[in-house]
Symmetry: D4
């Protein structure tokens, strides 16, 4: 991990006890630790042992941050709304904790193009854009056609039928006719936030 970055626990598939113990272990040598994919139940139990833990519920992230990090630059995280929100928030909160300013644009879907076009200026001032989309996953292509910025596309497993748990959105994003779009695993908001932050900080640190 890059220096200053928090240690990270992937909670999914771990018991509450396992998450708490790993967290306690990591806090011995780290000032900043987060646990992603954590339920509220895990948080409540962990909070009893680690009172300064905080919970980002939409992002499903528990964070213990005993040192402050100044936020720099700007990342836009865009999605179409309700269903894709947990993944978008995982990306956004990850990037914020790691040191980036994040602007959320959560009401832009392919079905309502004008809302995207109305807010296009917000994208121009970002160093990196994360686009989260489920179902047919066309949003990254549309954003990419309008904004000449590095785009990290996150397919979500939102959908049904021929969506095949996110396969449809994943393939759409990989096959985009717009160059400059790179893709992470289905529902992997964390990796998107991590990568976007790395790029954003590199740009900002070089500014000085």
């Amino acid at each position: 991990l890059i220096k200053g970055f928090p240690e990270v626990i992937f909670s999914q598939g771990k018991t509450t006890d396992q998450v708490i113990n790993i967290m306690l272990e990591l806090l011995k040598v780290n000032n900043r630790v987060i646990a992603t994919r954590a339920t509220y139940e895990v948080y409540k139990s962990l909070k009893e042992r680690i009172p300064d833990a905080v919970y980002f519920d939409r992002a499903r992230i528990i964070a213990v941050l005993r040192e402050d990090v100044e936020k720099k630059g700007k990342i836009v995280v865009a999605c179409a709304g309700t269903a894709d929100l947990p993944v978008a928030e995982e990306a956004a909160v990850t990037a914020e904790i790691m040191g980036s300013n994040v602007e959320r644009i959560y009401d832009v879907g392919v079905a309502g193009l004008h809302r995207l076009i109305d807010q296009i200026d917000k994208f121009y001032s970002a160093n990196v854009v994360i686009v989260v989309a489920g179902m047919e996953g066309a949003l990254p292509s549309v954003v990419g056609g309008l904004v000449a910025k590095p785009i990290i596309a996150v397919p979500t497993s939102v959908g049904y039928g021929a969506n095949f748990n996110g396969l449809s959105a994943l393939l759409t994003m990989l096959n985009s006719c717009v160059p400059g779009i790179a893709v992470v695993n289905i529902d992997n908001g964390f990796s998107a936030g991590y990568l976007a932050n790395m790029i954003n900080l590199m740009v900002e640190e070089n500014k000085k």
Copy 2:
């Protein structure tokens, strides 16, 4: 087949002799016969036996039309350009021969959204819209978000890698978050033109 419609031969996988013989057979009892997926070579041989055959080369359609049909209403056929053209033309020529006016809009891709928006009026006057797209196949969703018309989406096999011979575009279209989009088989311009024409004629015939 609906009355007035031509008989149709699917040439792919048939020998030149088979296409010619079926065509001759059908012309005994039909005034109008077409052969789709026909190469220029097949056309040249067939032309020697059936001198009034004509060839739509971009659409790969041979037509023998011994009776005129008045064109009615309007169908828009839209795609992003060069590579998807054979499929778009198969749809367009099919619909024209069967009795529809067709307006082609062949320079509208997701990567250049403004060209689509500039021509959006042309879509409003159509009874049906056919959208042909390969690679990520996002165009039907984008058109569908802007135009409240029945949309027939045609995925093409254009692409490579994770495109899987059109699977990517097919899944995109089936999973569209925009309602009112129906999908035909990969590269099946014929069925799209056939269906669009059927709807268009129904609307127009009812006008009187």
Copy 3:
């Protein structure tokens, strides 16, 4: 959305609170709102807050309709029975609420062909036919071979084994040797009803 059409909430994957709040929000500016894929439990809770809500249980649709819409034309919705019924009803109720007369033909399967042939006249008077089928999904092809109408085919996830959650029925419908059949996503009765209604109204409105 076309004017006069209801706003639509897709309830699946939303909490009861989310559905109720979105419904209340939309009712501020809309006379007609529906929620698809809604369980009876959601309906009961919502009913307490919105007493004029009604529930179409077989279709799993909650509707708040504060304005009447005259029904026009005719759509046929056909399927083989019990298991495919929820999807067929989603299509039928959607089309009815949006302004179409719907005739349900729910006892026609490939295994009992004569029942289909006995009722074939009912199909001839429709502007559009929706065919819902699971398992091998052959019904749209069979109907399409008998009826020269636009057919919207809806594969369902009904089946087991090599059905692969509806993939089998989906592929059957996409590969139909009968032209003029267009396909929507697996289980997507809503989109089928929406599209059929759009076509039906276009035909009827032009009648005058």
Copy 4:
């Protein structure tokens, strides 16, 4: 192999020399040998060495039959026409050589149901029915809905796009809602003919 049955060479993927040598070897101890999936070129070369070889060109079968077998009972082989013919013929010729009477019904497709219904009597007098179909592969279900006989369904690789080289037809047949249909590999006319003949002979031999 059951006694009286010919030895069989699967020529596909073998060189002309390999086919000829295996044939010569087998003829030393067999009166009846056939080679399936054999091109006309292989036949011509083989004929020079084995003058009493005969070629069934539509079935792509070379046969050296130095003993006669009386044909018994009846198998129907049905398909929709041109493209599926090589597979249908492979089944039919295999069954004939092995000792069954075969009636071919090669003009019955789902798109022209009346032609099937017109000839339905022919199916009733068969002991076994082989149904060959490509594209959506719905024909076995339709036949099975009309005829209470053992049905062997043979999917073919005829089709394109979402047909995925016969996968679509294969899945359709496996998922048939009509019981009593069993399926062989895509394009495997030989195995269908072999099995149908085995059943047909068993029925006939028991007659006496």
Copy 5:
């Protein structure tokens, strides 16, 4: 359905009430009705309304048989044991109810070949052999290599990992290098029993 055959209800996906009501309805005009894929819970409720119903628990079949059918001929049903038993029993009980004698051979797996070879004589006296297998599904090929009888292969969904819910066994059976093996859907013991019985009765009825 062939005369004398019972009516059949597929219970999976139906409520207890639906199964009971369909059963009552069918019993008005049928002497013999069965319900497949029925749980013991459904049976207990149904038994209260229909006291002469019996339950074949390993086969998960409820049967109401108000008329006797003489059993004829012989079908062998073979599998490797415990896990595949429900599917094997569905096949066996279906065939017995429909009029066939069935011999069960339930301890023959590929991993213990000698047990199969020890009992090979039992297969020779059958008219039809049903082979049920999960995991790699190799048993039908092995039986087919030893026994020249019509073989109906039933892949089961038993397995894990790269088994993909029975896909592995299904593909094995379709690709068998032994001719004369036909395959039904994954876990579809009913269709296998139905088809085997149809063949068996045909052979036996012709005996006289």
Copy 6:
């Protein structure tokens, strides 16, 4: 497109004439145009009409560059050798033409880890790392475990058998347990080079 960037023609699937004509057309209004996936044959014909065209043969890129661009920063392109070279070079040359310094490290495979470790310093001075890999596609994970830089992973279609034309490498990269790796389409060196250059220039431009 970002200002200063060349226009790009995707030659695959276009005729020589089409590539030349599009090139001539674009050169009327652009000083810099490139054609990717171009064969040497296309280059030779084009060269006759456009004498200042140059050919990057390993990258399969034709370039007409009538204006110079100063190269900035640094991108590393890494792969294991021979077979992946065309894709690696497509990425490298694209990035160079668009304004980045590129260091090629073409002898680092998972099978010879020490060669990677020996050159690890070269990676530390890059702003972005492109890792190209076929077969099992594990190289990006290994590099990512050693280097805290944004990594763009490019799966190639190199391999056979269970590689499924690059699917294996694609899935490996998407599932990397190392965060900060983003993936483009199979064989899409162009998009990787385009994105890497965009990030690299952003970092460098901010330096001043």
Copy 7:
């Protein structure tokens, strides 16, 4: 089974009663029986009937070992940690019970390469190496590039999204560019332990 090896029950999909009864049956003629994939609940019930049963909880194995087996040689079982542990332990405990010394190396992942390199000597003294990995499954390739020993790779179903329940790790391992790696089914620690032990014992027995 090789002499001295325990009898093995695969508990998954069996009821507690079935496991206990099979265990009791096998103990009549075997001194050593194990049950894999057994939950703690099954163990507790079984323990009441068979008091000398022991439970390896991380391996999910119940063992009744009434005879001792001297452990020989050495097998290394390696994995990256927590999530893959149950599969790694299934392999390790299986091999130990069957007569091998096992060294566990459970903290070596691709993301932390140095931990692997630090312990590389431990691998050199093993006769066989089992590498267990989920997600992208790259660990066997990396170990194989460093250690010239027979490697048995076990993909696990650990992961999400484009992991497709272990398919990603499975394909990675099959496509390894390092020769000498053989693969077992997803999550099949048992078969890996069984095979590694067989090789290890063969080597050791020959030593004398």
Copy 8:
């Protein structure tokens, strides 16, 4: 690579010149080099430059062996015949060159079980067994049920239809109900021979 082992060139996808140049380069520092997947054409050209090269045509391997290696122990390579032969020979020749005695058993298929049983003694004296099989790939399970030796299973791409280029055989082998079978990539005879030799030598070297 283990000491004494030859260097290996994978010729597939390399030009004749590339293979020759790599061979010349490797011969500067190696006494033993082989090239797999090499055509006879490549061999003829290479032979002009390297006169002591020899060609194993069935194995498609060019070898330059300037030092002798004593062959030890025994590996059995088994397959069903003609079509799988090139893969079986790639395995056998690889193992022989690397230092193992190999016994080929090339006439044992699932369809003719007695031939396998007749030669079963030959398997008992081997240290490792390689089983090569296409189509349904059942042979490794059958051998594994009879022989308690480490089995390396090699699926081949031989087959058609639902074989999906070897996927069927691959899945069969991975899902084997017989433990102790490990699988390599489709058609990867080289890796099987390499691994079998490594195990065989380990056993033999320990003998002294």
